[in-house]
Symmetry: C2
Subunit: 383 residues, 2 copies
């Protein structure tokens, strides 16, 4: 039976996408690992039992380039037939890194995807331009903060939202730890915070949006997002590491939701904490978040409480904007221990196409939150 | 405004769950990191600005134990109020490791969860006993294989399914790379393979089940699972690292699906490839897969193509069976490069409460697949 495997019957287009991997090892090891990637990520089957023809020649990955980076690291480019992905997000990621995530010494460094992949991968609904249109802010960097801490009752969270909106913040997101806890149940919290922001907007004439955290298991995230829409929220926050990248993409594609999506990095850190394993931060927070429908991708900035480097952050910003299957560019959202004092440096580093997220740091800046937000906004408008 | 934060208004039950972390560093560093975990995983807010009372005393994590493991590693037990989880899977995982996944040097080693958490976390629908009842196999280890390679046309996949079922395999799963590609579209493939297995069952009198891969973005996974049910599939395969742990739990809770769930480790490897970061394999493939509704959890066995140790695999099997919020035990499913020759050793290691997964290895064993399956089954029945 297995010896008589036949070739695929549906002709392949010949179009391929390319993945850049960084491999640790000697030159011989790098070649062996590269060949292993080609098989493990596709047929996952003994090559000697695999029939010649389309299956072995086109379904199996193909080594396109293999270059030395240093004595123990190699850059290899492997191409795959676009049809292996079924033109859907989850299977694309499965081909890119599914089983090989379980083997040490290989990191995904870049995705080079043709527009044909976007046939079934919608990507961001708004992107930078769409989000700017919703906010009426065309050129300047955007301002974001978070409602926190977890444990505050709803009226205190709504008061905070009002203060932030009065001070000129563009996007007020829930802290990603605000879920549906008994001390601040989702529905009531979202309605009250959305109302508080709407009241502030009426008073200021500004267009601040509130983005509640809809992260929840399976279709509970969809229910939350629809409720958020009905309550007047102007965006949604989701942690795709918890809810699933595919769920985020479903929210982005849902015409009944039609809200900008802010992606949070919670639970995704293990992909990026080693230079010799996982997924490069630019790929994860730039390319993959974008493929999965984020309009803005939050990540821990260099020099904060977390461990990304300036180069990582540069790569994320570039990946958020660069060519990717014809999808719209999205915003990088550096956060994680940022302060008002660092705003000039951050603007210098990122330029205008950025959303600056300051959470706890706003509370530490001074006693009047609204005034602090106005300081934050002046720094950005001066840019 | 921030200085006037009030305590939570909803009284907490006082019940707490416990997480064991392994921390790398000096003793002083370990204490500092442990304190940081308590704050980062809950309020994520400057402690000095956090109001005294319930919020600071009960919402913030609490260090319960801190012990030396060796010169540079520490075991710390931190407890959290059960209410912080909102009694849902995604927020539980967010409290356990959400933001701290982004910091190096900390690994989740164990979850100690009280039954109250199962209020909103259903876990496995079948568990070991339910799956055994469906298969009518009460004591012996169970046999599993995979339809592969990706790229075969549907009639060849259906032929393989028939051969495996004739040979006495209990569970025939799709290879996790079979999605909805043009060379083997989901609906037709599932119907044809389910029919082939049903035909074999009529001939053998056995109760082999076919578990197609329903991994897909968002509710496409639900559609696939419902289609699988209607086509006569006896189980489903899903990669929660791609589709989302919450989506798997939704499938488990869906009375309209009501099929045993086989969880695949694709894309989850970055959590387990470092001893100093991520999530211990026992927690990820044992406890978390079980919390998220898997009835059987596939993982790369020691001595195969991947890198888990015997101790890791022992921990997974123990975590699949041990106390966990009152949830039913589930099956460990070691795979990834297993062979028929290794069956006696695997049975010695795991005992009867295991599903042995041999994929490509069945094809390498001999020219007649059905005979190979019979050899495989004889080895297991002799145990």
């Amino acid at each position: 039976m297995p010896r008589s495997h036949q070739a695929v019957f549906v002709p392949l287009s010949g179009e391929r996408f390319r993945v850049v991997y960084r491999i640790r090892g000697s030159e011989d090891q790098a070649h062996a690992i590269a060949r292993d990637i080609c098989v493990e990520q596709t047929i996952e089957f003994p090559l000697e039992l695999t029939p010649v023809g389309d299956l072995r020649d086109h379904i199996v990955g193909r080594i396109e380039e293999l270059d030395r980076l240093d004595d123990s690291h190699w850059r290899v480019v492997i191409s795959y037939a676009v049809e292996t992905t079924g033109f859907e997000l989850t299977q694309l990621l499965n081909v890119v890194f599914g089983n090989f995530s379980l083997k040490p010494g290989v990191r995904v460094e870049w995705l080079d995807l043709p527009p044909s992949l976007a046939r079934g991968i919608d990507g961001p609904r708004f992107g930078c331009a769409g989000l700017r249109a919703r906010l009426g802010a065309w050129r300047r960097p955007l301002l974001c903060t978070a409602l926190k801490p977890m444990g505050l009752p709803i009226d205190r969270l709504a008061d905070l939202a009002y203060s932030f909106a009065r001070g000129g913040i563009d996007v007020i997101k829930d802290d990603h730890g605000l879920a549906n806890q008994p001390f601040a149940p989702f529905d009531e919290r979202v309605q009250r915070c959305a109302d508080a922001v709407a009241r502030a907007n009426r008073e200021t004439g500004l267009t601040c949006i509130y983005a509640p955290n809809v992260t929840a298991p399976g279709d509970a995230a969809v229910r939350h997002a629809r409720y958020a829409k009905s309550a007047g929220a102007g965006g949604i926050l989701i942690s795709p590491g918890l809810a699933g990248l595919g769920v985020m993409s479903q929210l982005a594609a849902d015409d009944g939701i039609d809200l900008p999506i802010f992606s949070h990095p919670s639970f995704l850190g293990s992909f990026i904490t080693s230079p010799d394993q996982g997924i490069a931060p630019g790929v994860l927070f730039g390319q993959i978040a974008r493929l999965a429908g984020a309009d803005a991708s939050i990540y821990p900035n260099y020099g904060g409480r977390f461990s990304l480097t300036r180069e990582d952050c540069r790569a994320i910003a570039e990946a958020a904007a660069g060519p990717l299957a014809g999808l719209a560019p999205i915003f990088p959202v550096p956060g994680g221990g940022m302060t008002v004092e660092r705003v000039p440096e951050l603007l210098e580093f990122y330029g205008p196409e950025v959303i600056l997220l300051i959470g706890g740091g706003l509370h530490q800046h001074g006693p009047d939150l609204t005034e602090t937000c106005r300081d934050f906004r002046r720094l950005v408008e001066r840019f």
